[in-house]
């Protein structure tokens, strides 16, 4: 009888194994297509920036002009400072013109703090590729290498990572100087820690950003972005998602100009 039990258990295990495999490869589930979401219902990118706690800078350190979290070709700017306009003052929305193949968007650091464009992860045992539809590719090395001793600062910096269970922990240094959402600042010495964490069902991605720089911040500057899996579309009877291509032609007289603000009607 025991023998039969053992044999049956073995038989069942051989079928259960693929399930185990999925469980073991769960740490690879970051792979796929994602879009940034607005879980707090703030309703605009200005609002999303508004929910980021203000960075506490050291005395004498000031953020450059502009707003972090937005790129030169990112979300459309609006008139005013981001808060509601006084009654009677119209909102004017102007699209950013197409400026060709610059070094990327998202506050000048390639795909650090992505905007509304889709993002895509491909996971390999040595490297995670983090690519955006609106430009930019980040190389996150997970093969155990260290940051290089000699490094020329770049918009995306140099990223190394490791998995802690299902969480991808990424450390980046070597940024070109620039802004950080929430009024923060980054320099070549600034260290960014990113924690890419999936919800238990694998459909929500929370990225926790922690900016550290004892020459800049009184305390680490921490905030979060949220992403959902890209919506699936029906194609030939199957639900699929795929990377889109955002075309932009700076030579097109229409595309290279800002959207002409519509006539404002003030009652």
């Amino acid at each position: 009888m025991r023998l039969r039990v053992v044999l049956v258990v073995t038989f069942l295990l051989s079928f259960a194994a693929p399930t185990v495999a999925h469980g073991q490869s769960a740490k690879m589930r970051l792979e796929g297509d994602w879009v940034r979401i607005d879980p707090d219902g703030v309703g605009s990118f200005g609002g999303l920036s508004g929910v980021i706690p203000p960075a506490q800078l050291l005395p004498g350190v000031s953020a450059p002009g502009g707003r972090g979290g937005r790129g030169g070709r990112g979300a459309p700017p609006t008139s005013g400072s981001g808060g509601p306009n006084p009654e009677g003052v119209p909102y004017i929305v102007v699209a950013q013109p197409c400026t060709g193949g610059g070094p990327g968007r998202s506050n000048g650091a390639l795909l650090v703090n992505p905007d509304s464009g889709g993002i895509h992860f491909i996971e390999h045992k040595d490297e995670v590729i983090f690519a955006g539809e609106r430009g930019g590719v980040r190389h996150i090395y997970i093969d155990g290498r260290s940051h290089p001793n000699v490094w020329t600062p770049t918009p995306a910096g140099h990223s190394v990572g490791r998995y802690e269970g299902n969480i991808l922990m990424v450390e980046t240094t070597g940024f070109m100087p620039g802004m950080v959402p929430g009024g923060g600042v980054r320099t070549a010495e600034t260290r960014l820690l990113e924690r890419f964490e999936l919800s238990p069902d694998g459909n929500r991605l929370t990225v926790t950003y922690t900016w550290e720089d004892p020459k800049v911040y009184q305390k680490p500057h921490v905030y979060r972005y949220y992403f959902d899996r890209a919506p699936l579309v029906e194609s030939k009877g199957t639900k699929v998602s795929y990377a889109l291509e955002e075309w932009c032609d700076a030579g097109d007289p229409v595309e290279k100009q800002s959207i002409i603000p519509p006539k404002q009607i003030i009652k």
Partner: protein
């Protein structure tokens, strides 16, 4: 007998479990073409394409002019250009797709291995990279791409011709010499361009695993000097402004 059965059971578990922990590709024994790959001066075997006689010199010149426009205005470049971009490619094999990342501002290619059909034409917007699906045939990765945009990016195909919305590209990726070489055979078909399928082969050399892609050079379509350089015939005399800068 009892011991034999128990031992057999344990061995079966030991064999099955580690195997199942691998990715589907590894389970099938497919190679991993991931790595940094570079073309050298002798990496290309490109015969002349057999073009349709309807493609007159004027038509080819017009197409070349469009490609020059794409460069001039820093457009996305697309396939096939990004397979020979002048810098190494970073290829990474994931569980749903294989990504090919050029070191320039063009978007990467995704060769989807998690579906066997192209996205429906009803919903797919033609793009410079098209829609690529891939499958393993033994040790060869076969990628099939359709859905190209006929006008956007650099459309010129090595050996002659250009891509259109009717183009189909089949690529066969295979590792050679213990994985130190990646052979890619490209075969283009297009009833509006080629009289016969046009095939050529690139052999990429593997770079050390410690290689790191460099920041790409920015492209500023509004740089007047750059525009003048690209649009004017070369002058035997150095430009006055360039001399003054030095």
């Amino acid at each position: 007998m009892k011991r034999f059965c128990i031992l057999t059971s344990v061995i079966a578990c030991l064999v099955v479990l580690p195997t199942s922990a691998r990715t589907p590709q590894e389970q099938r024994g497919a190679p991993d073409i991931s790595g940094f790959w570079e073309l050298s001066f002798d990496s290309r075997n490109v015969p002349r394409a057999n073009l349709l006689p309807t493609l007159t010199r004027a038509k080819l010149d017009a197409r070349a002019k469009k490609d020059a426009y794409a460069i001039r205005w820093c457009n996305l470049l697309g396939v096939p250009f990004i397979m020979d971009p002048g810098r190494p490619l970073d290829i990474r094999q994931g569980s749903t797709a294989i990504i090919i990342v050029p070191e320039n501002s063009s978007p990467p290619r995704y060769l989807y291995t998690n579906r066997s059909a192209h996205i429906s034409e009803d919903i797919f917007d033609p793009s410079t990279n098209g829609d690529s699906i891939a499958r393993w045939e033994g040790d060869t990765l076969v990628a099939d791409t359709v859905g190209f945009h006929g006008e956007h990016g650099i459309t010129a195909i090595p050996g002659g011709g250009f891509r259109t919305e009717k183009s189909r590209l089949v690529e066969r990726y295979r590792l050679l010499k213990d994985g130190s070489i990646l052979s890619v055979t490209f075969t283009w078909t297009d009833p509006t361009v080629f009289r016969t399928p046009h095939s050529y082969e690139f052999r990429y050399q593997r770079l050390p695993a410690t290689y790191e892609p460099r920041q790409w050079l920015s492209c500023d379509p509004f740089d007047e000097d750059r525009a003048k350089f690209l649009e004017s015939p070369p002058s035997p005399k150095p430009a006055a402004r360039a001399v003054s800068k030095e």
